[in-house]
């Protein structure tokens, strides 16, 4: 009887209030998470840009130093610059990797929010109460 009633409600685009509220709650949580991750992405992106600028500056200095490297002390300076450049490149790579992970997570959160929104509006999802699922 309950199933028939639920099916009838679903046909009219309605879902039980309990299910509706749960989905709304879930959607809100995901939207909040999405904002958080978006902020992280912006931060990481800024860091990546800063590392990139730093790497470019170091590379320019290195080029200048190579031109002027005619004494032992110049050589040492050159090696130090080289090491710093490599370090900056490593940091840039790491920042880029983390940025990609964050962006991928954002894609998932955005996708999930869209799916939950659609489920909330159209009552497409089967009621977990009916299936025994831990949805």
């Amino acid at each position: 009887m309950k199933r028939a009633l639920l099916a009838l409600l679903r046909a009219c685009g309605l879902v039980p209030a309990r299910r509706y509220e749960a989905l709304v709650r879930e959607t809100k949580n995901i939207k909040r998470d999405r904002l958080e991750w978006k902020n992280k992405a912006v931060e990481a992106s800024t860091r990546a840009r800063s590392f990139k600028k730093q790497a470019a500056r170091q590379a320019a200095r290195l080029t200048e130093a190579v031109k002027a490297a005619d004494t032992g002390s110049r050589r040492q300076e050159l090696d130090a610059l080289q090491a710093r450049l490599e370090g900056a490149e490593r940091e840039l790579t790491t920042a880029r990797e983390h940025l990609m992970v964050i962006e991928s997570k954002l894609d998932i959160l955005e996708g999930a929010a869209n799916v939950l929104d659609a489920r909330t509006r159209h009552g497409v999802a089967p009621d977990p109460g009916e299936t025994g699922a831990s949805a």
Partner: protein
């Protein structure tokens, strides 16, 4: 009616064939004449493998079959009577999995989740994930027949596209190997072999496939790039990626990604295969241990067919952010962050 669960880990199978070919599809007219193209390629590959004495099985996953069309299996074996039931395991997947797993309603076919369901159930020592209209090339058959495959090596093959105008009903070696029939230049794979029709040929030993837990099931926003992403996972897991030495052949058809990809330039996010700009080459993943719908109740409905019934227990979390990870860099290979294209 028999119910059983798929084991969590690969168990040694004494009667396992050398090779399992994992295929997936459904009777939805994909590419115009899907059934005819599928039957031709399946018969060709089965004939050539049999001629070389290569023990093989086909695991076919019929994913979310449309309710208003006959099942693919009902149409297939009428066209390929020589393929015995023992050679082909057929899994019908309840359509509700498509909806329950979706992170992007534009994707109407979660191809790699379907492939994972097949890989999980494959019995062969080596498992080849490929597509229904792909013909194995002569060099590939030689390698398979020669027993030269090594474990923990993922083999790839370049894809040679045959012109749309070539008569698909009489494809033989002469037609496939005639360079005049190629649509454009023959593809050449470049290390680390990530791109260029990856999904058409991914060959790996069964144990390693289980170790990396198949294709990405965490990121379900796009279908495009998931094959490439498997290679990132493999490299990150210390599995070598090599070219097998010869091509597979694919006959062009309407609606293929290669033919239609550029039609979505500027509105990539709306494409029916998802946004191709996602970081498929730059991120790793960790699937749950019950990947491949391992917890889906299995019901044998005939000697050929097993139905995977719907259960929420088999559906992974809608969001599992811990499953998206930075890949591990390996000595001698480019750093993973250098595989990527920028958005």
């Amino acid at each position: 009616m028999v119910w059983r669960r798929t084991p969590a880990r690969p168990v040694p199978l004494p009667d396992s064939p050398f090779l399992t070919i994992v295929l997936t599809g459904r009777n939805d007219g994909h590419g115009g004449d899907f059934v005819a193209r599928f039957v031709r390629a399946l018969r060709f590959n089965h004939r050539e493998l049999t001629a070389r004495g290569i023990g093989h099985e086909v695991v076919f996953v019929e994913w979310a079959p449309p309710a208003d069309a006959p099942l693919l299996i009902e149409r297939l074996f009428a066209g390929a009577p020589e393929i015995e039931p023992s050679v082909c395991s057929w899994y019908l997947v309840d359509g509700r999995y498509q909806e329950a797993l979706s992170q992007n309603p534009r994707l109407r076919y979660l191809e790699f989740l379907a492939k994972n369901a097949g890989i999980r159930r494959a019995r062969g020592r080596f498992v080849l994930a490929t597509n229904c209209d792909v013909y194995l090339g002569r060099r590939i058959l030689d390698v398979l027949g020669g027993g030269g495959l090594r474990p923990r090596v993922l083999y790839r093959a370049p894809r040679h596209d045959i012109k749309l105008t070539v008569d698909g009903s009489r494809l033989d070696w002469d037609v496939l190997e005639d360079p005049r029939n190629l649509d454009g230049e023959a593809h050449v794979l470049k290390r680390p072999y990530l791109g260029s029709g990856t999904g058409d040929f991914v060959l790996l030993d069964r144990e390693a496939f289980h170790a990396i837990r198949g294709f990405n099931e965490v990121y379900r926003v796009a279908r495009v790039g998931i094959d490439r992403n498997l290679l990132v996972k493999a490299l990150s897991s210390g599995i070598a990626v090599e070219e097998i030495g010869g091509p597979v052949y694919h006959v062009n058809h309407v609606g293929s990604y290669r033919a239609r990809g550029s039609a979505w330039d500027g509105r990539e996010a709306e494409a029916p295969w998802g946004d191709s700009r996602w970081h498929a080459s730059g991120v790793g993943y960790v699937n749950p241990p019950d990947w491949g719908l391992a917890r889906a109740p299995e019901r044998r409905v005939s000697d050929r067919i097993v139905q995977l019934d719907f259960s929420w227990d088999a559906v992974p979390a809608l969001v599992d952010l811990r499953g998206v990870v930075v890949p591990v860099a390996r000595e001698g290979l480019p750093h993973p962050a250098q595989y990527v294209r920028k958005r």
